[in-house]
């Protein structure tokens, strides 16, 4: 595993009407890593993702993607630079079919010239079905996204992000709202997909089992700061972490 | 110089007062029901027709002429009572949760219907009864003569602004309205009966529009085509003030009123365009209006 830094956050600050949400975060994610962020609610985890994707602008600090500063960019520009995102509440085109959702994402990736041909070209279609099959959504291909159960919505949301063939994918609580039974099957499919696509991943997660099992590295957040970071084993033996975050 | 300013101000405010009544109703209904009612202008013109007819009747019946003032108010009440609940319960409620295009079109359909009903009921010749205007007489400011009725209109508009604000902060129903406007979901979740509130708000909106028409009737009478003219102007004013903003509507009305006055005094050619140019400029600088926010939620 190369240790080349892919995403570097340097001294990020942001506050909303006096309320500090992120207070001096430094975090580096290396190529090929699966990094988990854990921490109590309101410790600024999602805000951090918003900062990394240009949805929010920091009051102070920088974010570099492979050396390029990106905080000033709009979300769509950052998407072009290779960061894709899946949301805590899946963001889908609910009035379209699952297949069309994915086809739109792929067309978006393929760029402006693809915009004038038919959306459902055989090539794109086949590619899309392959992806859906990989994550087990092939049977729902022609269902409307609005008809999907929460777990599958999550999956589709992630697939849309993957369709951009990103270098880094940000996952906001991929397993939240998913039953404990489905949880691991979802993570398995997800990890399989990520490995196949050779995507670096940063995911916010509440389920400690999931974190322990899948993360290479864990960053523990508390009130807008990175409390500590390191391999899961190490982090979960840290008293303070156990007290503050895991709540034992 | 002063001799120049006074007429500008008085005329500006008179213009403003008349536009304000329609705009504030429109904006109130939008803020509460989130429906832009294209038929709102028709309530203004029907109000004018009823008022004029009532006054004509009062006079022809040889009653005390001061009763015409009662007639003006009564006609607004009558129209609001007759049309408000009816329209809200049938058409408007149906449009809740529908896309804007549907809401606008449904009310546009209503607008078309009301325009013709007016013509069928009241005919095509303009009617008016100026007794109220004449009763109040005139006042000379400098070498300018003004109708006291004009000044009354300005007063009435101010009263309405204050009364509405009072109602919203003091009265129970007002607080409920503000709650619904501020956060509809929350309001629903805490079990506020929005159905009744919407009915009330819409009827109030109709009343305000009708009142505007009624108060205009003694000087301006009622004539065909009033509705179409009124509604675009009301749109302009409501948009300038920020949809859903009562004080916004008031300020916008004054701005548009003054704009018209300045046009008439200094660039008569631009009179007709003035309100729209103001609207365009304001919207390009502040797309959500002077007092408006993205969701146009506050009242």
């Amino acid at each position: 595993m190369s240790k080349r830094p892919l995403l570097e956050a340097k001294d990020l600050h942001i506050s909303f009407s006096g309320m500090t949400a992120v207070a001096g975060v430094d975090l580096t994610i290396h190529e090929g890593e699966f990094v988990a962020i854990i921490g109590p609610n309101g410790s600024g985890k999602t805000t951090f993702l918003n900062l990394c994707t240009g949805y929010l602008k920091p009051n102070k600090g920088e974010v570099y993607l492979d050396g390029t500063p990106i905080v000033a960019m709009a979300p769509r520009k950052i998407a072009h630079h290779g960061i894709a995102r899946a949301f805590q509440i899946p963001q889908l085109f609910l009035d379209q079919t699952v297949l069309d959702n994915l086809l739109i994402a792929m067309a978006a990736k393929q760029g402006i010239w693809s915009w004038f041909q038919n959306l459902r070209t055989a090539r794109r279609r086949a590619e899309a079905m392959a992806m859906l099959t990989m994550v087990g959504l092939q049977d729902e291909a022609d269902q409307f996204a609005s008809a999907l159960p929460e777990g599958k919505r999550k999956l589709l949301d992630i697939v849309l992000a993957l369709a951009l063939k990103p270098r880094l994918i940000l996952l906001d609580e991929p397993t939240s709202g998913v039953s404990t039974i489905e949880r691991f099957s979802l993570m398995e499919t997800l990890m399989k997909a990520l490995r196949e696509a050779k995507v670096t991943a940063l995911f916010v997660e509440h389920d400690m089992e999931v974190v322990q099992r899948y993360a290479d590295r864990v960053a523990v957040w508390d009130s807008g700061r990175v409390l500590t970071e390191g391999p899961p084993a190490e982090v979960f033996s840290n008293e303070e972490v156990l007290r503050k975050v895991v709540g034992v | 110089m002063l001799g120049m300013i006074i007429p500008l101000v008085v005329d500006g405010l008179t213009n403003a007062a008349l536009i304000f009544f329609v705009a504030v109703g429109l904006t109130l209904v939008f803020s509460v029901l989130r429906v832009l009612n294209v038929a709102h202008g028709s309530f203004y013109s029907i109000g004018a027709y009823i008022a004029a007819s009532l006054c004509l009747w009062v006079v022809s019946a040889g009653l005390n002429p001061w009763l015409t003032f009662v007639a003006l108010l009564a006609s607004a009440v009558i129209l609001a009572a007759a049309l408000g609940p009816l329209v809200e319960a049938t058409l408007i409620q149906w449009t809740f949760g529908k896309p804007e295009s549907v809401q606008i079109l449904a009310t546009f359909g209503l607008f078309l219907i009301l325009e013709d009903l007016q013509r069928i009921v009241f005919g095509v010749t303009s009617i008016a009864e100026d007794t109220p205007m004449l009763l109040l007489g005139v006042t000379s400011i400098g070498d300018m003569v003004y109708l006291n009725y004009q000044l009354l209109l300005i007063l009435a508009a101010i009263v309405v602004v204050v009364a509405l604000r009072m109602m919203l902060v003091k009265s129970r129903i007002g607080k409920l309205l503000s709650a619904v406007v501020f956060d509809r979901e929350m309001a629903l979740s805490v079990g506020i009966n929005t159905k009744r509130l919407f009915l009330f708000a819409f009827t109030l909106g109709v009343f305000l529009a009708a009142l505007g028409g009624a108060l205009a009737a003694p000087t301006s009478g009622a004539a065909p085509g009033l509705g179409a003219e009124t509604i675009v102007l009301a749109f302009a004013v409501a948009a300038i003030g920020g949809l859903g903003q009562i004080e916004g509507a008031a300020l916008a009305a004054v701005i548009v009123g003054l704009a018209r006055v300045f046009a008439i005094y200094f660039a008569p050619q631009l009179e007709a365009v003035a309100p729209y140019i103001v609207m365009l400029v304001v919207l390009l600088i502040r797309p959500y209006g002077l007092f408006g926010s993205d969701q146009a939620r506050r009242i």
């Binding site: 769509r76 995102r85 379209q96 959306l119 | 675009v232």
Partner: protein, 310 residues
């Protein structure tokens, strides 16, 4: 059932082609019907993105006034007028669009209304240039090099309009089936996701806006040439609303919808004016009935049939 629809469509086209011989007066009505249908189609493109423009009559008017000015300047070939008229309204669409695509929902509607009212008032005002409310005459141009008298030109225009309707209809159909078309409805359903997919909603809308303005201008060119006289009323807000009305009446489910709506309305109008002059009342009721009972417009009637068929 699909073939049934195509058969129906084919019959309709044949029927239209026969009109000049079966019911000559209808020719003019239908020419206008096609023109209005064009504008409504333009409006429909934006409705796809959930944006309602109460101002598209301005592009209709701009298209019409463009050719009026050009013919005053001595350009007297229909083909040239057509191209330049459409270009003119497309350019106008680009300028206006650049401003309005930043806004959504009611504010988009309002801004369009405001701009169109300014355009309308200016056209009605500038007597020296536009002939004010009396409008501008339009001399019968040559038709692709052929010099025709007015009846001949009208007839040629009529058939040409039918062909244009089919071509434009097909192109818009393709547009809606392309990613660009899907992106429109994506803007309505989830703009955030679209942005995160790296797509600029504004450029998607700007393209749509320019296209719709161009098509509306085309409608203006056809209507103007058919009437032979251009009036500011073309751009008044009520006619803008009429175009939205037509689009929703016909349905935006397919490119055929707006044209269905336009023909329906023209027929309804021609039928009602002879019975009563309360035609506002009738259109109003028709409109409400349709949006309440046919949420996907007249076009929905055929769509349903097709579904149940396949």
């Amino acid at each position: 059932m699909r073939p049934f629809i195509y058969l129906l469509a084919a019959l309709a086209i044949v029927g239209m082609a026969a009109v000049p011989f079966t019911a000559p007066w209808l020719q003019f009505v239908l020419t206008l019907g096609i023109a209005n249908g064009m504008v409504a189609l333009g409006v429909a493109i934006l409705l796809r993105a959930g944006l309602i423009s109460i101002g598209h009559a301005m592009f209709f008017a701009i298209g019409a006034y463009c050719i009026a000015f050009l013919s005053r300047m001595g350009i007297n070939e229909f083909a040239a007028l057509l191209v330049l008229g459409v270009t003119g309204s497309a350019v106008a669409g680009l300028i206006v669009g650049a401003f309005v695509v930043r806004y959504r929902a009611i504010f988009f509607a309002m801004l369009n209304l405001a701009i169109s009212m300014v355009v309308y008032s200016l056209i009605a005002k500038m007597h020296g240039v536009t002939g004010g409310t009396d409008g501008m005459p339009l001399h019968t141009p040559t038709f692709f090099g052929v010099l025709l008298d007015k009846p001949g030109f009208d007839l040629a225009l009529y058939y040409f309009a039918i062909v244009l309707m089919l071509i434009i209809g097909y192109l818009v159909h393709r547009y809606w089936k392309s990613p660009l078309g899907y992106a429109l409805s994506a803007i309505e359903s989830n703009e955030l996701r679209l942005e995160y997919l790296g797509v600029s909603a504004r450029s998607v809308l700007l393209i749509a806006y320019v296209v719709s303005a161009a098509i509306s201008g085309l409608g203006g060119v056809i209507a103007g040439s058919a009437i032979g006289h251009i009036l500011p009323d073309f751009g008044y807000w009520t006619s803008s609303a009429q175009f939205v009305l037509i689009a929703v009446l016909g349905g935006i489910g397919g490119a055929a919808g707006p044209f269905l709506g336009a023909f329906f309305l023209e027929m309804l109008h021609s039928a009602s004016v002879n019975i009563t002059d309360a035609w506002n009342l009738i259109t109003g009721i028709a409109l409400i009935v349709v949006i309440v009972f046919l949420p996907s417009g007249l076009y929905g009637l055929f769509r349903k049939r097709r579904r149940s068929g396949s």
